[in-house]
Amino acid sequence: MKLLNHTTKYFALMLIVLITVWAVIFYFAMLDEVYDSLDDGLENQKELIIQAAETNPSLLNDTDFGVNNYTITKTTLEKHGAFSDTYRDTLMYMQNEDEYESVRILESVFAHGGEYYKIMLITSMVEEDDQIENLFTYLIGLYLVLLVSILLLNNLVLRKVWRPFYTLIDTLKGFRIERDAPIMAESTKIDEFELLNQSVETLTKKSKESYVAQKEFIENASHELQTPLAIGINKLELLLEKSSLTADQSQEVGAVLENLGRLTRMNRSLLLLSKIDNQQFVGIEGIDFNRILAHIAESFEDFAEHRNIRLKIVETGTLKFPMNKDLASILIINLIKNAIVHGEQGKEIEMEITNLEITVRNYGSEGGLDASKIFKRFNKYAPGKQSTGLGLAISKAIADKYGLKLGYRFSDRHMFTLRFPTE
């Protein structure tokens, strides 16, 4: 849920409580005022009628409400003694509404010519239920108006206030450390956001610096390793040429050379990876993948044959794509090499090329491999095989660089699919 809606939610909840409490207090206060005013009116009327009765005794005979809103009946002093002015609510049939409505009634006693009379005055009263209903309706109205105002306020004012925040979030979302310069957020007048911006700027700057430093470290380390490796390998090669070595000694030297060779390959692969990351491969040309695939398959034929594996190319389309030629070769080479090294002996490796995809299928260990790990560096599935664990990582890095999708699936065979974007 968005921050804006969160605050709105709490506002809405708070308003319900606040408005309910306020409504109850308001209702009773209003009612009190209304009674006060009605009672004052009734008392005033009573005074007027009593005065009028002085001059016009016929009024004393109005024993029914009839057209009047009062009645006067004779009473006795005994009864009067216990009597004072009383106000109360009661129900009375109203002709116009055809129902019983509540009325306010004043009962009082007065003396006239030595006699005592009881006077009852009525006045129509705002109906309580109508009152509550009205109040409720208006309160709902008020609530809605408040809510809408808050929403509007949030969406117009707060959105404007929060804009630097969302801008920053958007920038962060698209931030790729290997590609982008450190984030430079636009400055804002709001202290909290300014602080956030500065923190993000510092963070991305530091991350970028350590990323670059790490990349440089790998690259420099790989470079620095080349010369000692070369010296070691060449010294051993010179040693091997000496005829004084016995068979055993030669084989020992050969084994050391083999391991130095592995070290060299691993080092080269690391260097290649950092070069791909560092965008050191420029020069894009239209690559004919049908040709490259055929060419590479041919150069791997001896290796495949040695492992008793047949290479089969299935061409159902032609694939051309602009990229660096060396990288295109390395991409395909690593996929095929991987299939040969891990493929089951005596079986076939099928390389299918369509207008959009290249798929390499090989038989091998039962069950699929973890597709989320298979392209990670130094992730080895076949212990004992002398692979560097970098081949697929390199292919993946190349594919990513050119926006190709390199994926892995397993059905009856292990399948690596390289999908090219459609223009």
Binding site: T227, I231, K235, S250, Q251, T264, R265, E305, H306
Partner: protein, 225 residues
């Protein structure tokens, strides 16, 4: 044949000097930019092995100087950087080849010989070995008038072993040269055996006075009988 090695790493320099001297070349060395500049200015060489990262200057500048002086010494750039820029820059400046470190001694010999052939005979010379004649221009091999037909890999193996004749060539060096740089992650280089078997058979069928010996499973050696 006079060869100049420009290399600041003493052991690297020593290795290259020793292996090239065994081919009866006259080998001179320079360990820094200034010494190299002096030698280049004063003498002509058939081939210069040039390390471009020198402590007191960039080897590419030496290459420029060489070309400005109108010299056509063959130049092979040797670099630990293996950077594409250097490779392109070096070749654009007129270097004949680019050899990234680390390399096999056998590869060094093959490259040096190729440069020497191209420089001295415009690449149109044939190589005589035993009773065979190899013509790099047409990639053909003849025993006097009879052609021995080899496929691409067999031919490459033969030429590579010829460049390193009587030397032990490791399987790795051979595989990387013939099958390409990227075959190198294969977990064993034994796959070269079948091509080697075919080549041997074709050579003996063709009556060649050459023998390719397998040495203790480490590599191969070509000898003239």
């Amino acid at each position: 044949m006079k060869i100049l090695i420009i290399e600041d790493e003493p052991q690297m320099l020593d290795n290259m000097r020793r292996t090239l001297e065994r081919e009866k070349y006259t080998v001179e060395t320079a360990a820094d930019y200034r010494a190299a500049g002096d030698k280049i200015g004063a003498y002509d060489y058939d081939c210069i092995l040039l390390d471009i990262t020198l402590p007191d200057g960039n080897g590419l500048e030496l290459l420029k100087q060489l070309k400005e002086q109108g010299k056509d010494d063959g130049v092979i750039i040797v670099s630990a950087k293996d950077s594409l820029d250097d490779r392109i820059g070096g070749l654009d400046l007129g270097a004949d080849d680019y050899l990234p470190k680390p390399f096999h001694m056998a590869e060094l010999h093959a490259r040096v010989k190729a440069v020497l052939r191209r420089r001295n005979f415009d690449g149109n010379t044939s190589i005589d070995i035993g009773n065979l004649t190899i013509d790099p221009g047409s990639r053909s091999v003849r025993n006097s008038d009879i052609e021995i037909v080899l496929n691409r890999k067999e031919y490459d193996i033969l030429l590579y072993l010829t460049s390193n004749k009587t030397r032990l060539v490791t399987k790795a060096a051979l595989a990387e040269h013939v099958w390409g740089d990227h075959i190198d992650q294969a977990d064993s280089f034994d796959f070269i055996y079948s091509q080697m078997k075919n080549l041997r058979k074709k050579l003996s069928d063709g009556g060649a006075t050459l023998e390719i010996e397998a040495i203790y499973g480490v590599g191969y050696r070509l000898t003239v009988l």
